[in-house]
């Protein structure tokens, strides 16, 4: 049975649908209200509050902490300043992605890494010869994501002593709630302006209450996973074991992915570095990758036509779908779309997909399998630039 997160007393009281999903052994609300679109729009138009405590969190300390994180991550952590946060995947020796997450440099020799899966053993095993300790703080640190254009204004109601206006994208700042310390990072999984709040589990409920209270008048809604899944697809953010398989779970060669193959080539810094998997990734870079991660926009005209054949308007899922479907080009299967939805804000049917490298050019045409009244059809789609949705406010400083 899943257990409640440190916010469970609050989320349970609000989850009117009683629709829960298990997230790493915790109860996570799928949708608090019958219409998850209310929650979706709260993030694009106001603010949503999401319990992200089920993330795995590791604290890495010690005089060689920086070296250890740099050894593990494909990103160059040496460049990461205190107070900065970076996003990075990490790989096994063969350069295949194990997981991805954020790395916050909380001090010169103190980092906090988030992960989707347990990684304690891996991080510890990577630390041989270094003075670096890895501690699992998943249970003791509770986390909330406050996302949406009003997120900053809500936080400013609570944290009056810190300058949130000047907190840049992917940076973190320390704050206090009463006498209790917390960290606020300008990060999130929605592709919008947003923050994540990291606090000791004992003070979790007090934080939730304060944020919900401050959010009154700012349109704040509790945010469930159904809406989150839509938001992250619009933001072009991939999900482990949905859009790619972790090297720790893969069973056959085709299930392994390199970071380059899943669209994270930009987060692989090969220059003068010797992180785990670097050698294999250098070779891949030279050789060229076989697959690429892309966005797709399915032609609405094509959908219209296919559904018109059975006298129906296009039927597209109101929620993001995680049912992978094959992609074709020239009559041959060239990949698969792994996450898709009709984007309410873009009014487009969009998908995240993995395709053979030859078919990954933006603007290129592929066909996606669509089921029309139990019959499998194919609709034209074009490779699109990721992210699909990228508002200026996501990275901008206030008043800039």
């Amino acid at each position: 049975m899943p257990i409640g997160s440190p916010f469970h007393s609050r989320t349970d009281a609000l989850c009117r649908t009683q629709e829960w999903r298990e997230w790493s052994g915790y109860f996570a609300a799928i949708s608090y209200q019958v219409s998850h679109e209310v929650e979706y729009y709260s993030v694009r138009n106001a603010a949503g509050l999401l319990d992200v405590s089920p993330l795995f969190k590791y604290e890495i300390t010690g005089s060689d902490a920086g070296q250890l994180v740099d050894r593990i991550m494909t990103r160059n952590i040496g460049k990461c300043q205190v107070g900065q946060v970076v996003y990075s995947p990490w790989c096994d020796e063969r350069g295949k992605v194990i997981d991805d997450g954020t790395i916050a440099r909380l001090g010169e020799t103190r980092f906090r890494v988030t992960a989707a899966d347990p990684n304690l053993r891996w991080f510890q095993d990577c630390s041989s010869g270094l003075d670096a300790q890895v501690r699992d703080v998943s249970v003791e640190v509770a986390a909330l994501a406050l996302q949406g254009p009003n997120a900053r204004n809500i936080l400013k109601q609570i944290f009056t002593k810190i300058d949130l206006d000047r907190l840049p994208y992917y940076h973190a700042i320390e704050a206090k709630l009463g006498i209790n310390r917390l960290e606020i990072s300008r990060t999130g999984y929605t592709g919008d302006l947003g923050y994540e709040l990291w606090i000791g589990a004992d003070n979790a409920e007090a934080l939730w209450d304060r944020v919900m209270e401050a959010g009154q008048g700012f349109g704040l809604q509790p945010l469930g996973l159904a809406a989150l899944d839509m938001l992250r697809v619009e933001a072009g953010l991939l999900l482990i074991d949905v859009d790619y398989t972790s090297a720790q779970h893969a069973r056959i060669p085709s299930q392994y992915s390199s970071p380059i193959e899943i669209g994270l080539g930009w987060a692989v810094d090969l220059a003068h570095r010797d992180f785990i998997g670097a050698e294999a990734l250098r070779a891949e870079k030279q050789r060229g990758s076989l697959r690429k991660f892309v966005g797709l926009e399915v032609s609405w005209e094509a959908l219209d036509e296919l559904f018109d054949e059975v006298d129906l308007p296009p039927q597209v899922a109101g929620r993001a779908s995680r049912m992978p479907v094959p992609l074709y080009a020239g009559g041959k299967q060239i990949g698969q779309a792994t996450s898709m939805l009709f984007s309410p804000i873009l009014k487009k049917y969009i998908a995240l997909a993995t395709v053979e490298a030859a078919h990954s050019q933006v603007g290129g045409r592929v066909e996606m399998e669509i089921t029309v009244e139990y019959e499998r059809k194919r609709a034209e789609a074009r490779v699109a630039k990721l992210p699909f949705f990228d508002p200026k406010r996501k990275k901008a400083l206030a008043h800039s």
Binding site: M1, P2, I3, E22, G25, P118, N119, L120, R121, Q248
Partner: protein, 505 residues
């Protein structure tokens, strides 16, 4: 065989079919799976070919393992991935991480070995083109695994289960409980090289886990024998109980039939023995009819038994000190394996001819899973016990049997305080009793140790691993043939295929 159109007669010495796979009402109202008690390795192809579900085979889930600890704590693992993660994490956060990876890698190992379960072992000394081809196929299979998996497989074939597991884990209750699969039915300790293979042998059921091949047979393990018998009858086979075979009749190197213990003679062109090789070759035949090297091999074949069984009828549910009251933990296995030293000490005593005073015990409560096994509110408790050496240093098993039963009940009572008060009936089976009742030489539950020297093309004897014997028409198909023990049906199936192949020539 009947399915292939042969006229089949099954002869069983006891009044009940199934050998070690039987359910019996030893105490009124309570059904014991007297000997074997869970099923994990029954080959899916047998279930399909013999249409066993149609004939009543139902395998009920047995999904958890509880390891109670002397200090009142416990380790609990079940099919709930994250609850299991948290439970292991209480002992070691690293182990919780490693557990998933271990499961995946063991899946690869089981998959690698699964291929072998389904083939007749090739003879590596033969130059026959067919055998060479089979050897080449086998080599290709193993080389195809890749270096990492091949290395792991070699480790599994050679290491001790505890050492193998220590490469993954650090917490004692987890290592001990996992390593106990490496000692079940085997006269090895968790630190004895070779026990890791037995671990893999028991893990094999996991690979077919999705098809629910692992669990508890409805009606006890006898339910499996009854389903197979019913299927066989439907295909035209005849079963006779109380019909022990005294000898196999041969003439000019060709089998002619059997002579029953009651003197009756039955003619047959083909006789298949599912007994262990000592009975198959040395008792039912005159060894002088056989090549010396086979007789020597069979005499040396290790059938030394090391396990016992205690079956209890209980007036109420057992109440565990670590998890009082009823709960899902009572529907799974309860493993008395608090740490590796505990298991190793249990083995130490057995090495010198004593039963373990503090034994490893694998407990299941069949009536918690299938309520038909006991009257409502009452329970049967099956306790598989290790170690009970076949040969005692002092006294005989009939003299020591109840003292052994006391050791088991006393050990269990440390974890189940109400146990002694609720016992209505106790059945204690030593290896000697197993030998006496169902004829397994030495009381070895696998009809012979699953040691490297007795596996694959060496099982049961070099040159005779293809289910044939030097006597034309006389075959072997028991657990002492490849791929070994457990309720697998695999040796019988592979033997039948060979027999049918010979019939075509």
């Amino acid at each position: 065989m009947a399915r292939a159109g042969k006229k089949v007669l099954v002869l069983e010495k006891r009044p009940v079919l199934g050998g070690a796979t039987v359910s019996e009402e030893v105490y009124p109202g309570f059904r014991y799976s007297v000997f074997s008690y869970v099923v994990s390795l029954l080959r899916p192809e047998i279930i399909r070919d013999l249409q066993l579900p149609k004939h009543g085979l139902t395998i009920l889930p047995l999904e958890s393992t509880l390891t109670p600890l002397p200090d009142g704590d416990y380790l609990y693992r079940d099919s709930d991935k994250w609850a299991t993660y948290r439970n292991i994490q209480r002992f070691s956060a690293r182990d919780a991480d490693a557990y998933g990876e271990y499961g995946r890698d063991m899946y690869f190992m089981a998959k690698a070995v699964k291929y072998i379960l389904g083939i007749r072992p090739p003879d590596p000394t033969s130059l026959h083109p067919g055998e060479l081809l089979r050897l080449a196929k086998l080599g290709k299979h193993f080389l195809g695994l890749g270096a990492d998996k091949l290395h792991m497989l070699v480790k599994l074939m050679t290491m001790s289960s505890a050492e193998f597991l220590e490469e993954w884990f650090e917490s004692d209750p987890l290592i001990a409980t996992l390593s106990s699969s490496g000692i079940i039915g085997t006269f090895l300790g968790p630190r004895s090289p070779g026990s890791a293979y037995v671990l893999l042998h028991h893990y094999m059921g996991e690979i077919d886990g999705v098809f629910r091949a692992w669990g508890f047979a409805k009606g006890g393990t006898g339910g499996i024998s009854e389903a197979i018998a019913s299927s066989a009858r439907a295909f035209g086979a005849e079963m006779r109980t109380d019909s022990g075979v005294a000898e196999v009749a041969i003439r000019n190197g060709q089998v002619k039939g059997v002579v029953l213990e009651n003197g009756a003679e039955i003619d047959a062109d083909i006789v298949v023995s599912s007994l262990d090789p000592k009975l198959t070759f040395l008792t039912l035949l005159n060894p002088e009819e056989l090549p010396n090297e086979l007789v020597d091999s069979v005499r040396g074949f290790d059938t030394y038994g090391s396990s016992g069984k205690v079956n209890l009828a209980l007036d109420a549910a057992p109440d565990l000190a670590c998890l009082p009251g009823l709960g899902p933990h009572l529907r799974g296995a309860i493993s008395i394996s608090p740490n590796v030293d505990y298991l190793e000490r249990a083995y130490d005593q057995a090495k010198y001819g004593q039963f373990s005073e503090k034994p490893y015990i694998d407990v299941v409560l069949p009536s918690m899973i299938d309520p038909h096994m006991a009257p409502p509110g009452k329970h049967v408790m099956s306790c598989f016990v290790q170690y009970a050496p076949y040969q005692l240093n002092e006294g005989t098993w009939p003299e020591q049997r109840e003292a052994f039963g006391d050791a088991v009940v006393n050990t269990l009572s440390e974890y189940i305080p109400n146990l002694k008060k609720i016992i209505l009936h106790r059945q204690v089976l030593s290896p000697w009793d197993i030998e006496q009742t169902i004829g397994l030489s030495g009381g070895n539950i696998f009809q012979g140790e699953l040691s490297l020297s007795q596996l694959f093309f060496l099982r049961p004897a070099p040159g005779y691993a293809d289910y044939r014997t030097p006597i034309r028409g006389y075959y072997q198909c028991g657990s002492a043939t490849h791929p070994g023990g457990g309720i697998t049906g695999a040796p019988g199936r592979l033997a039948a295929l060979e027999i049918l192949k010979d019939g075509k020539l």
